[in-house]
Amino acid sequence: MTLLRLDRRWLRRSVALVIAIGVWEGLSRAGVLDPFYMPPPSDVARVFVSLFAEGAIWRHLEATFAAALAGLLLGLVAGVILGFAAALLPVVAELLEPVMMLLNAVPRVILAPLFVIWLGIDLGSKVALALVLVAVLFFFAVYGGIREVDQRLVERVRTLGGGRWVLLREVYVPSVTAWVMGSLKVAVGFAFTGAVVGEFVASTRGLGYLLQFAQSTYNAALTLALILLVMGFVLALFSLSERLERRLLRWRYR
């Protein structure tokens, strides 16, 4: 019954999407929409296919993926380490909390030009931006996660004879894992934002570089094709993150 309801929901969504694309195509062909600004979906699709057929896209994809995934991984490690340090050592919290609050409050992409000045226009500056975007997110997930650990569980383990290490292994790490996994999907989006914006600011390759090129040549079809491409990849990684979350937190989803 639930499966049937889900299928119907997907069917309704698919039909709505097809209708929207059809209306867009029709309006473009009828001249209601200026193809210079809003090319028809068939043109966007042609550009999309040619990007892969000609093979030019691969080096750009490789650059963006490398920056996003490296930023995600390093940001995860940095955020988790700093979050644990701040939660366990009050002096670290005292120093880090205002910095992280500030970084969280401002749009962190404003750091992109600074990273280009410091690290150049290659991969390093894009990884750094993605890392900062992701690390702040994971810092608060871990820091908050540890501070909000269920004290009943802590007391339970203590009355069973557990010391600091047992508490860390049995209560704090699993509890924080749940928080971290909850942030992973958002972090994937952040990592791609960092990589693409970094490339947008200054680079010689990557999807951000291609977007910058498409914008400067007023190529709306290429711009739309690239936006769809980034959306597609982020959605795919979203889905992978969700699977990973369900696997690691099977106690919550089974």
Partner: protein, 252 residues
Amino acid sequence: MLSVSGLTLAYGAEPVLEGVDLAVPAARIVSLIGPSGSGKTSILRAVTGLHRPAAGRISLAIPPAEVGFLFQDDALLPWRTARQNVALGLRIRGVAKAEALAEAALWLSRLGLAGLDERFPRELSGGQRKRVSIAQVLALKPRLLLMDEPFASLDAIVRARITQDLLDWVEKEHLTVLLVTHDLEEALSISDHVYLLSGGPRARIRESYPVPIPRPRDVVAARTHPAFAPLLGRVWRDLSAEVSLRRLEAAE
């Protein structure tokens, strides 16, 4: 087995309870009752070392490792299966993993949870989770069992069944129990002795009542014993008087 003398516990400046004396002899079941906020749970927490006393002495005739604490909440690790939760205490005490898991399975089976070993807490009913909690504590073979309203959240039938199973085990193994409860009938039906705490702050032991019902007991049949109703009436009157007195003091 456990003796508490002149115990004062405080949260902040004002003591919750002050100068509390009580004794829990070996192989006996003792209950603590009293108005809300009288510090019943705090006494159990002090015995296990979770709360440091402001004054007084807590003497245990056994090592702290032989004290089991059954909480009001199940407080099972949600990311561990029923079997892993039961095995946790054994693992902490240095039992090898395979041995601890085998022992845990045995305890789950003893408590009527055979076949549910691999379920996570959220996949179990309230009564089943409570049984897992009991298994987790009993697996450590405690000689003194501290119970903080462990069955408060359960419906009457499940509660009576679990209480009876636990009582049978306590009597068979000659365990000593200190039970905190709001339920006067529960206290009288399973205990050998009941202490009534006055209302907090600065709560004290107001009265103590021996329960002259022989063992072994059936938790339901014990309520029909001739001594039960008069004793229940007496405890009820004392508790009501204590609550009224505290209300009067608060109003003044």
